[in-house]
């Protein structure tokens, strides 16, 4: 059996990649994808823990979370679409009317 730490390590790696992406990318879609990556790394954690603690909560949680992630992406893309319609671009770093 693969030790738990491997799962956790992978999840942490994915999570970090996601974080890095959120910090560096300018493109809105990429940012949303990175967030998905982060959510999924958490799901991975949950499933791994579920398996190692012999409880089902984790798996249930993961399923809920996947569904929620989908919904989240829907909302996100909807807002992004609206922005695209208005500005003709999806580079989020140019959105800075609101600052200071």
């Amino acid at each position: 059996m693969i030790p738990l730490i491997f799962y956790l390590g992978l999840a942490a790696l994915l999570f970090s990649i996601g974080l890095y992406g959120v910090m560096t990318h300018k493109n809105g879609i990429r940012m949303i994808m990175c967030i998905e990556l982060m959510l999924n790394s958490a799901n991975l954690n949950l499933v791994a823990f579920s398996s190692y603690t012999d409880t089902l909560n984790g798996q249930v949680f993961a399923i809920f979370s996947i569904a929620l992630a989908a919904a989240e992406a829907a909302v996100g893309f909807a807002i992004l679409m609206a922005i695209y319609r208005m500005h003709d671009k999806i580079n989020l770093d140019e959105l800075k009317i609101l600052r200071w």
């Binding site: 996601g18 940012m31 989240e72 609101l98």
Partner: protein
Amino acid sequence: MENLMLLAPEIAVVATGLIILLMGVFMSPRTKNVLGYLATLGVLAALVLTVQSFGTEATMFSGTVSIDALSQFFKLVFLAVTLIVSVASIKYNENSDHTEEFYTLVLFATLGMMFVASANDFILLFCAFELASFATYALAGFEKQNPKSLEGAMKYFLIGAVSSALMLFGISFVYGATGTTSISTIAENASLLAENPIGLVAVVLLIAGFGFKMALVPFHMWAPDAYQGSPSVVSSLLAAGSKKMGFVAAFRVFVVALAALQPDWQFTFAILAVVTMTFGNVIAVSQTSVKRMLAYSSLAQAGYIAMAFVVMTPMALTGGIFYTLAHAFMKGGAFIAAAAVVWMITTQRTGDLEVPDHLDNFRGLGKRMPLTALCMTIFVFALAGIPPTAGFMAKFVLFSSAIQAGMTWLAVIAILNSALSLFYYARLVRYMYFLSPEGKKIGLPFPYAAALLLSAAGVLAMGLWPEPFLQWAMEAAKVLI
């Protein structure tokens, strides 16, 4: 069979939401005004049901939902905010084609918040949290033609999504260490987590997740933008309602579930509280947009409430909980007042249209909109903690608890911050009353007036006769300790 009557408020809200959605499909924009009144009625019913259910204690659905004083108190907070918002929104949505969507989103957001208050399981907590978040993301960007609204919504959404990822990651660790997602069971097994070095990481990740909603520095950065960009009524919901969701979740998770890790989160909150209140107040001093100023002031208020986690005495928790209700009225009302001003500016097309909530647009408000100005004065003085208002009583209980616990340093910082805040609040009052107006007087629409009066009544009632509210808050605090 579970006694579904215990969930009557939630059912009322969800039913109203669905009915409105359905009705809206078949109605013309002209008649959709009715939906606002309907939503108000639904919320009012839920409110009454909540108040009626005070004192009941129960857990439902395999221990995932708990009905207790804490949950009911916060439901009261959320419903009160929603009530104010839905009343005010009647005017905001006048002749709009999307009224039913707006109200459904508001009601579903409220539902999410209410379930967060009742959640006794991380799964439910997370789902409810996200429900409220999604609804408010959409609400923040409700004005699709308004670049500010969209920008605010986008920022809100992205940071919110990152935060929920962080929160989920944190929850996964908690789950991993304790093997359960039930809050009461975690509380029993929390020692496992406390021994684990991952415990601190989990705590901080969770704080980041909740801190996003509470708008604690440095997880706050979306808040000023979102509050400023969103329609004012939505800002009101965000600042007064959804912010409190973060607090009730944090109360449940930290004080109940993770009590064993108290030192960890106590320190974290200590740092966050001090930084947040100072940062918020200092920056608010130089703001010229009233909504943005209120946003920063909202940060500061969150910092005050976070003191409850630092002090952690029954008195402090009482104070913190009492403060959330007080803040709901004060901040909710203040944003509604801003909404009224924005409405006036856009209707009359005078003043700074680029930033309709600019401080200059508040000049002579006392003459143009006497009621709004008066209520705004009450709200900002309450926010500043001037007696005899809810803000004073809340600060009184909360700050005094810091002294009680011997944390004089914290109380001193909070007090100095509170004094600083007076500067920008007083400036607003000065603009409203003592600078000459730049436009004509305008009659205040009934919905705004009603919402303002409701909040002002709340603020004054809590200030002048705080006893029942304090009692409820104390009951709620007892749940935690």
